[in-house]
């Protein structure tokens, strides 16, 4: 059964903009992206909205819906109260390009700083061998679709532009965690996680985990383990002593 949805959509660019009111006919079972597409098709042909798969797997249609960073393609209209106005704005952490499209290149610049995997040499038969329990741990991080909702919600950069230089953000901490836990990795990335990525700036308030559409436990399974590894290297005298006396290393 169809109905009219009241929407406010941010229209504008870097020079300024406004929340614009629309009434969009929608059908039961539709998502916010459907409403935006209908709006684009019938009333606002020049509405800029980035999207691709419409299945929650490409991470393109990230926006803020009623103030919360979400994927527009995975936000059902049925979650809103009847008659509730749905407000859609671009991600408020990144520079806006036009309407709902933001410049997310910050994330790619930070990704360039993540060191590549430095695996041990191949075995005599030319293969790598890894045990299942060692491989499993990093699989969760591979679910990331790079929607950057976690980056957008992170108050370290959302509310403090000056931290963008020193802080890479939750999505990139997944990368550091994966490197640190990778069974073939030979290098120590703890100093890079501390100095290059700024993991110490994170105060683990878990908003990244709350907004992740892939339900990755970013804080518990990536950020805190990375923080604990940084403690091993930089703040724990007993671990330091153990590494000197028993020659223990992160390669255990």
């Amino acid at each position: 059964m169809g109905y009219d949805l009241n929407m406010k959509v941010w229209r504008g660019d870097e020079s300024g903009g406004e929340l614009t009111d629309y009434v969009v006919p929608v059908e039961e079972g539709e998502v916010v992206l459907d409403a935006l597409h209908r709006l684009q098709a019938t009333q606002a042909g020049d509405l800029a909205v980035r999207w691709n798969c419409k299945a929650g797997k490409c991470g393109s249609c990230s926006a803020e819906i009623n103030g919360k960073p979400r994927l527009t393609c995975m936000t059902r209209l049925s979650v809103f109260e009847p008659g509730e106005t749905v407000t859609v704005t671009p991600l408020r952490t990144f520079p806006v390009i036009r309407d709902l499209v933001t410049d997310v290149s910050y994330n790619y610049e930070k990704a360039k700083k993540v060191p590549p995997l430095s695996p041990e040499p191949r075995q005599a038969d030319g293969t790598y061998r890894m045990q299942q329990e060692d491989v499993e741990r990093g699989q969760e991080f591979r679910k990331c679709i790079e929607c950057f909702l976690c980056q957008s919600v992170c108050h370290v950069i959302r509310d403090h532009e000056d931290n963008k230089e020193a802080f890479s953000g939750p999505r990139l901490f997944l990368r550091y965690a994966e490197l640190e836990m990778h069974p073939l990795e030979t290098k120590d990335h703890r100093e890079a996680a501390k100095a290059e990525a700024g993991v110490g700036l994170c105060n683990i308030t878990k908003c990244c985990t709350e907004v992740c559409p892939e339900s990755i436990k970013i804080t518990d399974n990536a950020i805190i383990p990375v923080k604990e590894r940084v403690v091993d290297r930089s703040y724990d005298p007993l671990v330091w002593l153990g590494s000197k006396i028993f020659r223990r290393s992160a390669d255990d």
């Binding site: 406004e18 803020e64 520079p95 110490g200």
Partner: protein, 292 residues
């Protein structure tokens, strides 16, 4: 998601709707954060309309109430031991003050007896720091007391932010040491719980014993589900396959760790419950319900 190329604003843009706000980029106190000039020009700091303030408000109320109760009880220096059933409240364990009754001092009496020094002065500061540096409680009080941030996508209440990189918050990194010490204190609480089965008339079980057991179970669950425990038991390893026993231990701790928040609140509640019960019995407000 691909990096967008440069786009030019179209002066002839079609608009089918009605504009509701045309605020220029704020300057002065509003500038910065979501009001940076390059970001979408939206006047409101947050567009969230849900009651996001409820959870931080409840957190403040409960923690302040608990701390108030705890401070009153710690400095009451009375009604902490039920002689008849050997119940000792965890707020006074280990009771090391020279002011402790002899039967409650399982580890000797050697700390000064002073109105401003808790009878369990060796354990209480450690337990306080253990909870203060706990990864869950950090989230709770950063959000609710420090408003950094009060809720997701709601601006934090501070102009500058350095996270946990500087003194004093850099000391949060010592959480693992407080975990080791807290685990030792839970062992002492467990010993107190066992001793409470042997009252003046020999072995017996009362409601107080059940509450003590429940409390110790919750304390163990909270302590073992700690993120630092998860790291030191096996999380720091790169190869679980080379350490099968530690892998199994890490797997167990990881399962507990998913409920760390629950255990944090439950153990806070059981601590207050067992203390109140023992205070009530010791003060003669009510009798212990005996089963055996």
């Amino acid at each position: 998601m691909t990096t967008p190329g440069p786009e030019q604003p179209d002066p002839e843009r079609q608009s089918g709707g009605t504009g509701t706000a045309t605020a220029a980029a704020p300057s002065g106190p509003l500038a910065g954060g979501v009001h940076e000039p390059t970001r979408a020009d939206i006047g409101e700091k947050t567009l969230r309309k849900d009651r996001y303030w409820v959870t931080p408000a409840i957190t403040v109320i409960v923690l302040v109430a608990w701390l108030t109760y705890g401070v009153v009880r710690v400095f009451m220096q009375d009604y902490y031991y039920v002689d008849e059933h050997h119940y000792l409240t965890p707020f006074y364990s280990p009771c090391t003050s020279t002011g402790c009754v002899e039967e409650a001092a399982h580890f000797g009496r050697f700390t000064p007896n002073h109105a401003l020094i808790p009878f369990a002065v060796l354990s209480l500061p450690l337990l306080l720091v253990f909870r203060l540096t706990c990864y869950y409680y950090r989230k709770a009080y950063y959000r609710s007391f420090w408003l950094s941030p009060p809720a997701c996508a709601v601006p934090d209440g501070h102009k500058r932010y350095t996270g946990e990189t500087r003194f004093p918050l850099i000391l949060q990194n010592l959480h693992r040491y407080t975990f080791y010490l807290a685990a030792a204190i839970v062992l002492i609480n467990t010993w107190d719980m066992i001793l409470a089965f042997g009252g003046d008339e020999g072995f017996g079980i009362g409601l107080g014993n059940l509450i003590l057991i429940f409390n110790v179970v919750m304390l163990w669950l909270y302590t073992l589900s700690c993120h630092s425990c998860r790291h030191v038991t096996g999380g720091r390893l790169r190869h679980f396959s080379r350490h099968p026993l530690r892998y199994r231990w890490w797997t167990f701790v990881s399962k507990l760790n998913t409920r760390h928040m629950l255990y944090a609140w439950m153990s806070l509640g059981t601590l207050a419950l067992v203390d109140f019960y023992i205070m009530g019995v010791a003060a003669g407000w009510f009798d212990d319900l005996r089963f055996l």
